[in-house]
């Protein structure tokens, strides 16, 4: 009868929840939310991105509440999100106006507006820094702050994308701006073929591991070979909402950190070639996720038999909440259905061999 038992479920659950408290109680030191926000910011970014809710404080709280599990934290934020009233739809934010923190291109050495390496782990040696075991955090904070203050600010002006140039040259298709209301994946059932707005929202909220793996399969040969990162940028984008009293005005409500990527691929253009572009944009700093998203966006524009070319396959299986919810439900009792299965198996064995 194991853990469902016929009775006693309620006490068992309460004891189980108390045991979770035990697991969170191993030290007398508190895990300050500010510390999670400021020193685990990539983790916070990942959780916000997969939850589709931009709030560092709540993401940090969620992580604190669940021993740092990304899928549990995403779960908490999503559930909280369901209780919030949606008061406004923001205006379209043009990422050309992004306040850049980093911008690179793997396609061209020189790009209009220039490359900014910014902060990246790409060129670090991944050696354990044992000094961090005992770190003087206030000293670090002071030192870095001082260094920043001593520097002269360099003005970075907003700049267009690398693809803008290639569009002028006619190598990439140009599309007219489309002002159709985007499909809202949080309020509607996805329909297939999915509109591109639905595809991009779904990929942007997808589990990082899932879409990275899928994009990897594309690169390895189960797809359209090797794309080039035309541009990767991250930085802050200002968000505005319409001012209800006067529709020509808008209200600034804040800024969010985004990572945006465009990848280029060769594509057929009747009897010649052109370049096709895949787009990725995710909340926070999560470059591999943004690149993976761009690879899959392009892949879904092509037709073929690879799993990554099938929008149902890609879009329905990467939501953290959905995949983890369904996998974990296997731990629930299935006594009735299993009894029914047993009955079917026994009957065929009895009739055929017995």
């Amino acid at each position: 009868m194991a853990y469902v038992a016929v009775s006693g479920g309620e006490e068992a659950i309460e004891a189980s929840i108390r045991l979770l408290e035990y697991y969170r109680s191993g030290t007398k030191k508190d895990l300050d939310l500010e510390v999670i926000e400021e020193k685990m910011s990539l983790l916070v970014d990942r959780v916000m991105s997969e939850a589709g809710l931009y709030d560092k404080r709540y993401a940090a709280l969620a992580l604190k509440q669940c021993e740092g599990s990304t899928d549990e934290a995403v779960f908490l934020l999503r559930a909280y999100r369901s209780t919030l009233k949606r008061s406004y739809d923001s205006l379209v934010a043009d990422t050309r106006n992004m306040r850049l923190a980093r911008r690179i291109s793997a396609a061209f050495k020189d790009i209009p507006g220039g490359q900014i390496l910014g902060a990246t782990y790409d060129y670090t040696h991944r050696l354990m820094n044992f000094d961090l075991q005992q770190e003087d955090a206030p000293a670090l904070c002071r030192r870095v702050q001082q260094e920043v203050e001593e520097q002269k600010p360099v003005e970075i002006s907003p700049c267009g994308r690398v693809s803008d140039e290639l569009k002028i040259e006619g190598l990439i298709d140009r599309f007219e701006p489309e002002d159709e209301e985007p499909f809202d994946v949080t309020q509607n059932l996805l329909e297939f073929p999915a509109p591109r707005s639905a595809r991009l929202q779904t990929l942007s909220r997808a589990d990082t591991g899932f879409i990275s793996g899928l994009a990897y399969s594309v690169l390895r040969g189960f797809g359209q070979v090797h794309p080039t990162v035309g541009e990767l940028r991250n930085g802050y984008v200002e968000i505005e909402v319409p001012y209800l009293e006067d529709p020509t005005e808008s209200l600034w409500i804040g800024e969010i950190l985004l990572t945006e990527v465009e990848v280029f691929n060769e594509a057929d253009d009747k009897d010649q070639l052109k370049l096709a572009c895949g787009y990725g944009a995710v909340m926070g700093r999560n470059e591999n996720k943004a690149i993976a998203m761009a690879v899959l966006d392009h892949e879904l524009n092509t037709t073929g038999d690879f799993p990554t070319q099938n929008d149902e396959f890609v879009l329905l299986h990467g939501d953290s909440l959905e995949m983890n919810g369904f996998i974990s439900h296997l731990k629930l009792p299935h006594y009735v259905t299993f009894q029914s299965k047993l009955d079917a198996v026994r009957k065929t064995r009895r009739e055929n061999h017995g």
Binding site: I13, S82, Q187, N188, T337, T348
Partner: protein
């Protein structure tokens, strides 16, 4: 009741939206109505479709019963009850007759339901054609065109291969001679209870974002061939070791100490009632 959240957790707009989908589902029995499934504090795949139905319907005058595998005290049932209670304060019961809304996973209660009761079933995979066609866009078209040949073929193939239709729980049925429907993973023992019933059956799939319904007095027929009738699970020669019932769905229990195998009612509330008579 936790007052930081709206009554029944979801905001009123969301609840109304879900009720509208329910009305459409009732109007087209067996048809899967897409809806904007909300995220809940309970896992997707753990009954969130059913919970959203319950939350959108429930009011202070309701009495709730929640069962899982037929049992009121199974962990998942307890957990769902605790959540609904936390945000509504409605009274809960284990007696099937007393409840106005019964949420269930994998079973239909043994006691026949009446016309003032709603049975909310949790559905993992609402699409009955998914076993023969993985793509939603294709199955949607198959339903529209009543193109049900592949599922009949599956039944036939199983018959040829094993001499029997081997589908166990989640047995597909035809509703009002129009839509093939997945009755959720209830055993074949329970599917006939959907036919010409007194109560309203609502099916909610949260992860798959679908709602469908069997209103009272609806024709529901389990798929079968004229010469190979539909067959339920059989417990011939077996009875509940607690209440002695021979006409209920039984759980098989294996006593590892004695090596003995015995049976008892899966519907624990029914079993208790029989014993108290």
């Amino acid at each position: 009741m936790v007052d930081k959240y709206n009554y029944a957790f979801l905001d009123e707009g969301s609840k109304r939206e879900i009720r509208r989908s329910v009305l459409k589902a009732v109007a087209i029995p067996g048809y899967q109505v897409p809806f904007g499934s909300r995220e809940l504090p309970i896992g997707r795949g753990w009954g969130t479709g059913g919970i959203q139905l319950t939350l959108s319907l429930i009011g202070p005058e309701d009495t709730l019963k929640v069962i899982d595998q037929g049992s009121d005290e199974s962990v998942n049932a307890v957990n769902i009850k605790k959540f609904v209670k936390m945000c509504t304060d409605v009274p809960c019961t284990t007696r099937t007759q007393e409840a106005t809304i019964i949420q269930t996973r994998h079973r239909v209660p043994e006691v026949p339901l009446t016309n003032d009761q709603i049975l909310v079933l949790q559905v993992p995979l609402p699409e009955p054609l998914r076993v023969v066609e993985p793509q939603e866009a294709v199955t949607k078209k198959m339903h529209a065109e009543s193109d049900y040949a592949p599922i009949w073929l599956q039944l036939y193939e199983s018959l040829i291969k094993y001499g029997k239709v081997t589908i166990s729980a989640e047995y597909p049925c035809l509703v009002e001679d129009r839509y093939i429907m997945n009755p959720s993973p209830i055993p074949k023992f329970d599917t006939p209870k959907l036919h010409e019933a007194q109560c309203l059956y609502l099916f909610g799939a949260g992860r798959e974002k679908k709602i469908y319904a069997i209103p009272p007095h609806t024709k529901v027929v389990s798929l079968a061939f004229d010469d190979v009738p539909f067959e339920k699970e059989s417990f011939r020669g077996k009875k509940c070791r607690l209440c002695g019932s021979t006409d209920t769905y039984l759980d098989e229990i294996f006593d590892s100490a004695t090596g003995e195998r015995y049976y008892q009612c899966s519907d624990t509330s029914y079993c208790k009632e029989v014993r108290s008579k």
